[in-house]
């Protein structure tokens, strides 16, 4: 019932695997947004998300010769990104750092500009908190689907779940968010 997947990055992957730096840079530019959204969802803060996303691309570069250029790169790359983010979280858990708290303060200062609108900033912060409070699987599915712009199939491939499980997770996440009052904020925008 779905339209076919977008064409894979066949040429770019082949050229990058042959050592062409410009082609690899093009791959980074093409996929950096969903990869970052994925790591951001799992890590919870921008600094860790950037580190994990960077690590994901480095791993991709290391294993380019194992990538099938005729298949879409995005789900494979997102799976690497999710693993990198989880690895980083595990390392952080062993070495607690006050980074997340610091970033929350910085983000609050950034967003609290008069022009941006305090209500809008508060609403975004509150929604972020609600998403962050979701169970890990629901949070990752939600973030990949809504923020990284992945289809259900791509989310399923990235998180190694069935497509049905992704849809159930989205349904549960939606119900939770609305139960917790997220739907009422619409009137604030």
């Amino acid at each position: 019932m779905q339209a076919p997947d977008p064409p894979p990055d066949t040429s770019l992957i082949r050229r990058a695997a042959a050592g062409e730096a410009a082609a690899f840079r093009e791959l980074v530019l093409t996929h950096q947004q969903p990869v970052y959204a994925c790591t951001r969802a799992i890590c919870g803060n921008a600094a860790d998300a950037a580190d994990a996303a960077q690590e994901a691309f480095i791993r991709l570069h290391r294993h380019l010769d194992q990538v099938d250029p005729d298949r879409p790169l995005k789900p494979y790359l997102l799976r690497i990104a999710a693993n990198c983010a989880r690895d980083l979280l595990a390392r952080r858990a062993r070495q607690p750092q006050p980074l997340a708290e610091l970033e929350t303060c910085v983000a609050a200062v950034d967003e609290a500009t008069p022009a941006a609108g305090l209500l809008q900033a508060e609403r975004r912060a509150a929604l972020r908190q609600l998403v962050a409070a979701l169970p890990p699987t629901l949070r990752e599915v939600c973030s990949l689907f809504y923020l990284a712009g992945c289809s259900c199939r791509e989310v399923a491939l990235a998180l190694e779940m069935s497509e049905g499980a992704v849809k159930v997770a989205l349904h549960r996440a939606r119900r939770r968010l609305l139960e917790q009052g997220a739907g009422e904020w619409r009137s604030l925008s």
Partner: protein, 183 residues
């Protein structure tokens, strides 16, 4: 195409990616099913919420950071310049076109000058290069008693180009060899 409620709600999730026919089927189901219509409103509300949250953009210099962070060992390695060696071999080959004994005598004498000129050539000293070229041509012309300077020089250029092209094969392989360990 008549859809069940489950199929319609599944379709609703990926609505933007559906084929036109599938969209029509979902729309038709929603028009006829109040339960799914209510669920559809909830789906849209959550989508609006996330749209308001804004996409997660990486830092502006992210791509540059990634490229800079690629391990040096995995970066393409520049092949050593092989053309000076090819040029030397070509010049020797051109001189070897005459009698070998005479050629050796001709080559042994200016060998020091040739090496000095090659050193100068690395530093792009064109004056020394030209002087070397004249000497090589003069040495060649003494081999057969006729003017080899142009013939030898031309032959050397052709051979040098040929050798440089041949050398580019291994050099290209060296640059493009697979990097890094497998899983």
């Amino acid at each position: 195409m008549n859809l069940s409620c489950e199929q319609a709600l599944d379709g609703l999730l990926d609505y933007a990616r559906l084929t036109p026919a599938a969209r029509t089927a979902v729309d038709a189901h929603l028009a006829a099913c109040p339960v799914c219509r209510a669920e559809s409103a909830r789906v849209e509300r959550v989508q609006d919420l996330f749209a308001g949250l804004g996409s997660e953009a990486p830092p502006p210099d992210f791509a540059a950071r990634v490229m800079a962070a690629l391990p040096a060992a995995e970066s393409p390695v520049a092949a050593p310049a092989l053309w000076p060696l090819a040029l030397l071999l070509a010049a020797l080959a051109a001189l070897a076109c005459g009698d070998l004994e005479q050629t050796w005598a001709a080559v042994a004498q200016p060998a020091a000058e040739v090496l000095a000129a090659l050193r100068a050539q690395f530093s792009l000293d064109l004056a020394s290069l030209a002087a070397w070229w004249r000497q090589a041509g003069g040495a060649a012309s003494s081999l057969a008693g006729w003017d080899w300077s142009w013939f030898g020089a031309s032959l050397a250029i052709v051979l040098a180009l040929g050798l440089a092209v041949l050398a580019e094969g291994p050099a290209g392989w060296w640059r493009q060899r697979p990097h890094g360990p497998r899983n």
